[in-house]
Subunit: 184 residues, 2 copies
Amino acid sequence: MWALSTYEGGTAYHHGDLRRSLIAAAQELLRSGGAEAVTLREAARLAGVSHNAPYRHFASRDALLAALAAEGFRALRRTLDEAGNRAEGPERLAALGRAYLRFADADRATFRLMFGGVVEKAAHPDLAEASGAAFGALRNVVAERDTSGGAEREALRAWALVHGLAHLVADRQIDAARAEACLS
Amino acid sequence: MWALSTYEGGTAYHHGDLRRSLIAAAQELLRSGGAEAVTLREAARLAGVSHNAPYRHFASRDALLAALAAEGFRALRRTLDEAGNRAEGPERLAALGRAYLRFADADRATFRLMFGGVVEKAAHPDLAEASGAAFGALRNVVAERDTSGGAEREALRAWALVHGLAHLVADRQIDAARAEACLS
DNA sequence: GGGGCATGTGGGCATTGTCAACATACGAGG
DNA sequence: CCTCGTATGTTGACAATGCCCACATGCCCC
């Protein structure tokens, strides 16, 4: 067969790790055409399987999107953790902010899927957990900076500021450099 | 015919103001089921016309979504203008912020359509204009507060803070009251 | 080595976006 | 008043998609 896809693998009939291949294919669709372009049948085509094979791994298209979003939250968490480990003291929060912004800028489609409300977190426990973990990482560092009485409010403000900047970047309302300059 | 829809009107064949009816129907679909639920055929059904009638008013499903988003930006601008007129001096910015948050909270689906990247502003001039006007209203008031050298940066910060809070509210990460408490 | 079960296949159905051809009515100009 | 052009709406069709069903295949455990 000409043009064997990179997402194929394993034997002819049993794929080997179709779930991962489908996610990889779907990520490519997501990044190149947005959430609308993520199609079970197209992902199956890219993975070199029949149009119904994905249903052995994802209950529905929504479940596939949820998996993509969860993957995004896990990646975001890794990014935040790394940034947090490389900085110390008062620099730490700004480092997290920069990491957050760079994540949004580097993978706008995934960021929008994560926060666009297309997938309902309540319906996908895996997603909810990944999302909670990522937010936890951010909240911890935010709260550690300010231990006074108004910590709660300040933490929320910092979070909202970064989140808003990230959305503006993802929507191309401002560019990433200008957004980074806004972090105190 | 039983169950005449509120979106119908005019004579039997020629509807009268189908464009407006379609937008109203689509808004209902948007609010009750999100952007995914906005369907040309369902909107046509609600308006009591054939499945192809909408094409006389919208070139594509995307054009209909763009019209909904533009309508949203116009409503946001009206809301911001009213809020700005009712307040004076330093209170003015906070009033705009509250209006912004309430808009996002009251019509989460429309807010997400406006900022979710589902419709490409570049492809719909009407949308781009409405969006620009709404942002202009916000930016003017933001910039008026701080006329020092760092006005640009402070304006962007204020905008991002409100925008981030609005997204968090729309995604139900925090509730509207907590968000409003964050506005200085 | 045989059977159970996870995994993949093929066909089918309803829904949708979009195109093309046709039908109808409103309004301007005679 | 009539007629004809054009805006508006209708019917029919096609491909793509999500999802369901019955069936095929092959890996693993007994």
